[in-house]
């Protein structure tokens, strides 16, 4: 798979999503057309109910679109079964959740290692988890369980878990929503470094202006549609390419 900066990782064409609850149709997405290229650092913004999380669910192969065409990493998600979707999530995608969602009974090290174990990574699993934690400045917290960490530390471990499996695309749903200013900045810098150093593509849904400030592209959703798609500055990866 070509991962050059110009390579399209996500391609959405007229994607809609309708939820049917108690015979009431709820249109979460109303024809989204969007392309995300490798190495981008994108913020998806919009008011509550605008479809940000739904879009992340679809791109993350967690849910299926109602109509339209959605290709992620060159694969048509509509044509993939449950097992193939799980396989894609495990091997090619990383997730960072608003509520951190670490496994409470596992240490930081084990939380990161767990994903690698699911990937059937062999003997180097432990070493890779340790390296990832150290790279993100979490080495000293490796043996601590989530309840022994601050919110910011937990979210950084969540990022470590998301990137340890070396995904090509990381999806983050409101990653700084529960963090104070200092921790949010630390987290954003960490993710920008990963974007810059490893070329990992990040897509965030956020309300947080600090995240928006860091994003090189901001996609605004309103009522399930893309109302604005603006590039703020060349991506870090693009910088590298130009250099």
């Amino acid at each position: 798979m070509n991962d050059s900066p110009s390579h399209v990782l996500v391609s959405a064409r007229n994607v809609t999503k309708v939820y049917n609850t108690d015979k009431i149709e709820s249109h979460a997405l109303r024809g989204i057309t969007l392309e995300v290229r490798s190495g981008e650092f994108i913020a998806i913004v919009g008011p509550s109910g605008s479809g940000k999380t739904t879009l992340l669910n679809l791109v993350g192969a967690l849910d299926s679109s109602t109509t339209g065409e959605l290709r992620v990493l060159g694969k048509d998600l509509c044509a993939m079964n449950k097992r193939l979707r799980a396989d894609m999530r495990l091997h090619s995608l990383g997730f960072v959740f608003q509520a951190y969602n670490l496994i409470p009974v596992l240490t930081s090290q084990e939380n990161v290692e767990f994903v690698l174990e699911l990937q059937d990574v062999g003997n180097e699993r432990r070493q890779r988890a340790t390296e990832t934690l150290q790279q993100l400045g979490l080495g000293e917290f490796a043996d601590r369980r989530p309840n022994e960490l601050s919110g910011g530390q937990q979210q950084r471990v969540a990022v470590a878990r998301a990137v340890a499996s070396r995904p090509r695309l990381v999806l983050a749903d409101e990653p700084t929503a529960n963090l104070d200013g200092e921790n949010a900045e630390i987290l954003l810098k960490m993710m920008k470094d990963l974007n810059h150093d490893h070329g990992i593509t990040f897509i965030f849904s956020t309300h947080d202006p600090r995240v928006v400030a860091h994003a090189q592209r901001v996609v605004t959703l309103v009522d399930g549609r893309v109302s604005k798609d603006e590039k703020k500055e060349p991506s870090v990866a693009d910088h590298s390419k130009e250099e």
């Binding site: 999380t53 967690l62 495990l90 959740f97 969602n101 496994i103 009974v105 596992l106 290692e113 994903v115």
Partner: protein, 411 residues
């Protein structure tokens, strides 16, 4: 394949609600212990009945004339008993051998009579192999090889006829050509404790019955083995060596009612174990379902991270397996102790059988001992693990239905 971290996850998840996990383990363990105790009781009972039946003349194996099983005529005699005896001597694990011949008869003393089955025995062999003889209270003496016109009868029969040692009984039997009557002197009176058996014992020598009936040779050869577990293999082996005209049957065919009783008990145990497994499984399923539903969001996260269905099921089953192993330990401690007590101290049958320790013409032991052995471990592991693993399947299936999109919603 469950990895190290998954195993830690499964194990530590049980400690999230230690009381619930402990209760689950105790529930499985106690249920399994009940099953172990029941199995020990029934297996011990079955073994006791088999031993009693085989030691009361049936033998573990019996060589009889062809068609004896269908006709059961006391006038039938073995085709070539010499070859049959050679066959018996050639197989291993034989504890004792006893030859007998039977005849339908009538015993009389004065004006008192009683119908009996007169059994001609080899006295030395009979005394070694028949518990009706060697376990009984014997007034007088038992038969000897060189006895002529002598008989040993049961206590109840003696009372019915109002006879004692040295009295002469008038014995009439159906012979080859005609009815034969002889006078036999009572040398011994046997008291087994069972009125039914004591009313039926009428032993004389094999030579005497040959003389009385005119039929030559024994009608049966009973073979006691070192263990009833050898019955099937030795039956096949012996069947090859006894010549034409004879057949080898087991104690079951000699005592079909008792065999049905033992099989009924075994079926009952299996049914009981099945019920216990189902009840334990339902209890575990309920506890595990609660545990899984409490972690619904967590499983959604794992699914979002890419955990596959088989991995999720493996995780839930592993948790159940840990509970099952804990249950096995409890079961062995509780059920094993009870089974050990039952095996070493036994239970008196007096409460259920009074002083008549017999079923038909089989003299039972007054105490019943449970079975105790390594099988308890396999039973405990099998029952505990099976019930917990079966119980985990529905919660595991339910987990695979959780929508991973829930992971992106705040818990």
């Amino acid at each position: 394949m469950i990895g190290t971290v998954s195993s830690k996850y499964a194990l530590r998840s049980l400690f999230r609600s230690p009381v619930r996990s402990l209760l689950s383990i105790i529930g499985v363990g106690v249920s399994c212990a009940m099953a172990l105790f029941a199995a020990s009781w029934i297996r011990g009972g079955a073994e006791m009945q088999i031993r009693a039946a085989s030691e009361c003349g049936s033998g573990h194996l019996r060589i009889v004339p062809d068609e004896w099983t269908e006709k059961r005529l006391n006038s039938m005699r073995l085709a070539d008993w010499g070859q049959a005896i050679e066959g018996v001597n050639s197989i291993q694990n034989v504890r004792s051998v006893s030859m007998r011949a039977r005849a339908n008869g009538l015993v009389a003393f004065g004006i008192r009579t009683s119908a009996v089955e007169v059994v001609g025995v080899n006295p030395e062999e009979e005394f070694k192999s028949n518990r009706v003889v060697y376990k009984s209270e014997l007034h007088g003496r038992y038969l000897r090889e060189d006895d002529i016109n002598k008989v040993v009868i049961g206590h109840a029969l003696a009372k019915r006829l109002d006879v004692d040692i040295d009295d002469d009984l008038y014995v009439t039997v159906s012979g080859r050509d005609e009815i034969q009557s002889v006078m036999l002197t009572i040398v011994g009176i046997v008291k087994t404790g069972s009125r039914d058996i004591d009313a039926s014992i009428c032993h004389t020598t094999l030579t005497e019955i040959e003389r009385m009936t005119g039929y030559e040779g024994p009608g049966e050869i009973s073979v006691l083995l070192d263990s009833h577990k050898l019955i099937d293999s030795r039956q096949k082996e012996l069947a090859q060596k006894i010549g034409n005209g004879n057949t080898v049957i087991t104690w079951k065919e000699v005592n079909p009612a008792l065999a049905a009783n033992v099989e009924g008990d075994t079926a009952f145990t299996k049914g009981l174990v099945a019920i216990i497994v189902i009840v334990a499984s339902l209890g575990i399923a309920s506890a595990q379902l609660t545990a899984v539903l409490e972690r619904k969001h967590e499983f959604a996260i794992l699914s979002a991270l890419g955990m596959k269905v088989r991995q999720v099921i493996g995780l839930i089953v592993l948790e159940a397996l840990i509970v099952g192993i804990g249950g096995t330990v409890v079961a062995l401690m509780v059920g094993g102790s009870l089974a050990y007590y039952l095996a070493t101290h036994g239970v008196s049958l007096a409460a259920v059988m009074g002083d008549n320790f017999s079923i038909g013409d089989v003299l039972l032991d007054p105490y019943m001992y449970g079975d105790f052995g390594i099988w308890l471990v396999w039973y405990a592991v099998g029952i505990s693990v099976m019930s917990t693993v079966v119980a985990s399947l529905y919660p595991a299936w339910l987990t695979t239905r959780i929508n991973p999109a829930d992971a992106l919603r705040t818990a």
